[in-house]
């Protein structure tokens, strides 16, 4: 089962943009996958419609291709509507990695839009607009040993997949991972390489790339006026993320990453495929001949790779284990930013749905969590205490930056020696460090005013 073991994007929530790696070898072994998922013998017929031949067993019931499709679309649509992910005025940027999960997300949102356009055409008033869809592909080939020809080929494939969705009015944004530095330095690529090269830990390097990828998507979205970013993170990816976050000591911030909605970002992120398994999505791509392209996927390594193979083993023992893991994590308390709460946000909803969202508890302050400088994880109690004490000591800026990193990033992303910190933080996208600068500005300006009257009480003052 090459497909199973090479699976998965290793959790770390490569998010949608990689959730795909789950099926790196689809092209190689479609037969194998179909064999594994299908019930032995062609005699079995769909448990739902009684018609077609069973291609997948979900929840103990064999489903034919059509019913699988309906089921997955149903889950997608329910996720989109139940948390009001897409409003008529929205412009949605689908993060497409070329893999099956984001391919299905792209397909489904495309279909929803087509239907919305049809009903818009048919309606008398044409009062509500139809949401807009764009596609982003973040090219990471700068860090991969791929030939130029391969990269070009892959990019062409991605473009042709997007343009094959008719009506072909979807904007396509191709970005390179080093674009996140474009505004600050000429040679983004070498800066990216240098930054990545400073990280000693394999897992840390991979997780930083994940953060940069999100930053890149945010940049595309902000520059092109998108109001939502849609990732293809599926249940399998999220199950991996749950375990790897636990293993990295991020138990506190974990629930932030696995909800349908995440408004921590300037452009909110939505995960409509959270309830679908990677192998179901892969199978749907097979069944519907949805083309995927995974030439540019990075294989996952380190902790993320280990977790991925552990989850693959669990899946073999029990196919619904991934669902159970995700369900466990869903029982953890989400953060206030895991729902849309802006005033008037729900005004576009049909009136029968609106009450559902109006019980927003007002006791929770809108956005009080402190977030890690690098990975944007909310700070746990002990991390907050650490930050507080550093802040009060008010030392060099570099200490403040360090204190604004969560424990996990501290360990796996910050470079080995403290003497390297200065350089490391200077390489980070300024967007990240700026947040700390503004946060600390008020405090330090106060300190500046009384500077002359303070006595040095430790040797940190130099």
């Amino acid at each position: 089962m090459a497909a199973a073991s090479s699976s998965s994007c290793g959790g770390a929530g490569c998010g949608a943009h990689c959730s795909s790696s789950t099926s790196s070898s689809v092209e190689d072994a479609p037969e194998g996958i179909l064999d594994r998922l299908s019930i032995s013998g062609a005699a079995a017929s769909c448990g739902k419609c009684g018609g077609g031949a069973v291609v997948v067993v979900a929840g103990g019931v064999g489903l034919c291709g059509e019913c699988l499709r309906a089921q997955l679309f149903g889950k997608f649509k329910l996720a989109v509507t139940s948390s009001a992910m897409v409003r008529p005025t929205d412009s949605v940027l689908v993060a497409f990695s070329g893999g099956p999960a984001s391919r299905v997300a792209l397909q489904f949102i495309h279909e929803m839009r087509s239907k919305a356009i049809e009903s818009w055409d048919a309606s008398n008033s044409q009062a509500l607009p139809v949401f807009n869809v764009g596609v982003a592909f973040v090219n990471e080939s700068a860090l991969l040993s791929k030939t130029e020809c391969e990269v070009e080929q892959a990019t062409e494939d991605i473009k042709s997949i997007v343009s094959s969705l008719l009506p072909g009015d979807k904007a396509m944004h191709l970005a390179s991972l080093d674009d996140v530095f474009s505004s600050e330095s000429k040679d983004g690529e070498s800066r990216l390489r240098e930054l990545v090269g400073m990280i000693a830990d394999d897992t840390g390097r991979e997780d930083l790339l994940q953060c940069l990828r999100m930053l890149s998507l945010q940049k595309i979205a902000l520059e092109n006026g998108y109001t939502k970013i849609m990732l293809g993170s599926c249940a399998s990816t999220i199950a991996c993320h749950v375990l790897s976050a636990t293993v990295k000591g991020q138990g506190y911030s974990l629930p932030a990453d696995i909800q349908y909605v995440d408004t921590r970002w300037e452009v909110p992120v939505v995960l409509p495929l959270r309830d679908c398994l990677a192998q179901e999505l892969r199978l749907l791509c097979e069944f519907d001949s949805l083309k995927t392209q995974q030439l540019l996927d990075r294989p996952c390594s380190g902790i993320n790779g280990l977790v991925a193979s552990f989850v693959a083993r669990l899946r073999e023992e029990n196919p619904s284990r991934e669902h159970t893991i995700v369900r466990t994590a869903q029982k953890l308390k989400p953060f206030p930013f895991n729902k849309f709460s802006a005033n008037g946000y729900h005004d576009f909803l049909p009136s029968r749905l609106r009450p559902k969202f109006q019980d927003v508890d007002n006791d929770e302050s809108a956005f009080s969590e402190l977030l890690c400088l690098i990975c944007r994880s909310p700070f746990s109690e002990s991390e907050l205490q650490n930050l507080e004490s550093t802040r009060h000591k008010s030392q060099k800026k570099i200490d403040l930056y360090t204190a604004y990193c969560c424990q996990s990033c501290h360990f796996q992303i910050l470079p080995g020696g403290r003497d390297l910190y200065d350089h490391f933080f200077s390489l980070l996208p300024r967007f990240w460090t700026e947040r700390v600068d503004t946060a600390s500005a008020s405090h330090s300006s106060l300190r500046d005013q009384i500077e002359d009257y303070l006595l040095e009480d430790d040797d940190d003052g130099n």
Partner: protein, 360 residues
């Protein structure tokens, strides 16, 4: 040996901690190269620190050490009696062993505990399944086979420990659960969706509302370091796996943790940190605790789990109380196949492995 901290000749590095003696080992937790003496010091100090930071004991308390004769409990007994003397905890320590009646395993390991009794000068109390339940594990396995036998053993052991502790009139039981065990339990609870246990499995002290609280002074101690300590100190312990215990499910998770540890030693502590920090809403509660109508032991049902299982054994219906029975109680007849969501929630024994019903 009067040198600075720098490594000297090739192959003989100096201890990174004292800088005086030759490093004899790489500490599994931190990968520091240190000498044997420093290893003893850091190992014992960390346990002392855990005890002090968590206020595990009060002076004058009677404390039973759950002793199986295995490495964890042997090291625990040794270290605890040392620390008790060194830091004047003022504890009365006892060894408490359970004789499950497993020929070729427990009888041998009990011999070890009996030697420990003399070596460490700690009084020993042995409580046997035979005396308490009139069944040995050998009998039980004969009756039910090798499936679910760990459920019986776990449930009975938990209660037997409490009974033994009551006989010794102790205030607390300490067990040798180590960091690896706890990390593994966190993972298993995630895998099986047990949020209530997930919230409590990282507590260092459990059962504080019950008659006799239990605590785990080895919560942050790595299994490898325990083995290392026992090895260097030449402690007398018994190291055979239970002959009835093969448990593939736990094995999965255990193997994963070992792989993780190899890749990143601190992962075990990180898992425990995650377990402690999970945002679990306070409404996730375990069922109300009552007492068993038959034996008076704490129970959330009319009858405690041990009584239900025992009832099944005695009536020749050993499946009673195993897995997803619809009702746990005197009236329920052994229809092990019946399923019910509520019963399922109550009754997770089939996944409990050897840790029994409420422990972990």
């Amino acid at each position: 040996m009067q040198s600075a901290a720098a490594p000297t000749r090739a192959g003989s590095r100096l201890c990174t901690r004292c800088g005086e003696r030759k490093a004899a080992l790489k500490r599994p937790k931190t990968l520091e190269q240190i000498c044997r003496e420093c290893f003893y010091i850091v190992f014992e100090d960390e346990i002392h620190q855990t005890i002090v930071d968590n206020n595990l004991f009060k002076a004058g308390e009677r404390v039973a050490i759950g002793a199986s004769g295995g490495k964890d409990s042997t090291v625990l007994a040794y270290v605890l009696s040392e620390l008790n003397k060194r830091h004047k905890y003022g504890l009365d320590l006892f060894l408490l062993s359970i004789d499950e009646g497993i020929t070729g395993y427990r009888d041998d390991s009990l011999e070890t505990v009996k030697r420990n009794e003399l070596q460490y000068g700690l009084p020993l109390k042995i409580v046997s399944y035979k005396d308490l339940y009139d069944w040995t594990m050998d009998d039980i396995v004969k009756a039910i086979g090798l499936k679910n036998n760990c459920t019986f053993c776990g449930v009975f052991r938990r209660q037997a420990l409490d009974r033994g502790a009551a006989l010794l009139k102790v205030d607390k039981i300490v067990t040798g659960h180590n960091a690896d065990d706890i990390a593994e339990t966190v993972l298993l609870n995630i895998l099986r969706g047990d949020i209530a246990r997930l919230s409590r499995c990282t507590f260092i002290t459990t059962g504080e509302d019950g008659p006799i609280p239990r605590c785990k002074p080895f919560k942050y101690t790595y299994e490898k370091e325990i083995v290392m300590y026992a090895y260097f100190k030449k402690l007398d312990y018994f190291s055979t796996e239970c002959i009835y215990s093969p448990n593939a499910y736990r094995g999965f998770a255990r193997e994963f943790i070992k792989d993780l540890e190899r890749m990143r030693p601190r992962a075990i502590l990180d898992i425990i940190t995650s377990g402690e920090n999970f945002r679990i809403s306070t409404t996730t509660r375990m069922p109300e605790q009552g007492t068993c109508e038959r034996c008076g032991y704490i129970s959330s049902q009319k009858l405690c789990k041990a009584c239900v299982l025992l009832d099944g054994l005695n009536r020749g219906l050993p499946k009673l109380g195993i897995g997803r029975t619809a009702k746990v109680g005197a009236g329920a007849d052994g229809s092990g196949e019946q399923q019910g969501k509520r019963a399922e929630r109550r009754n997770r024994s089939s996944l409990q492995g050897k840790h029994g019903n409420l422990d972990f």
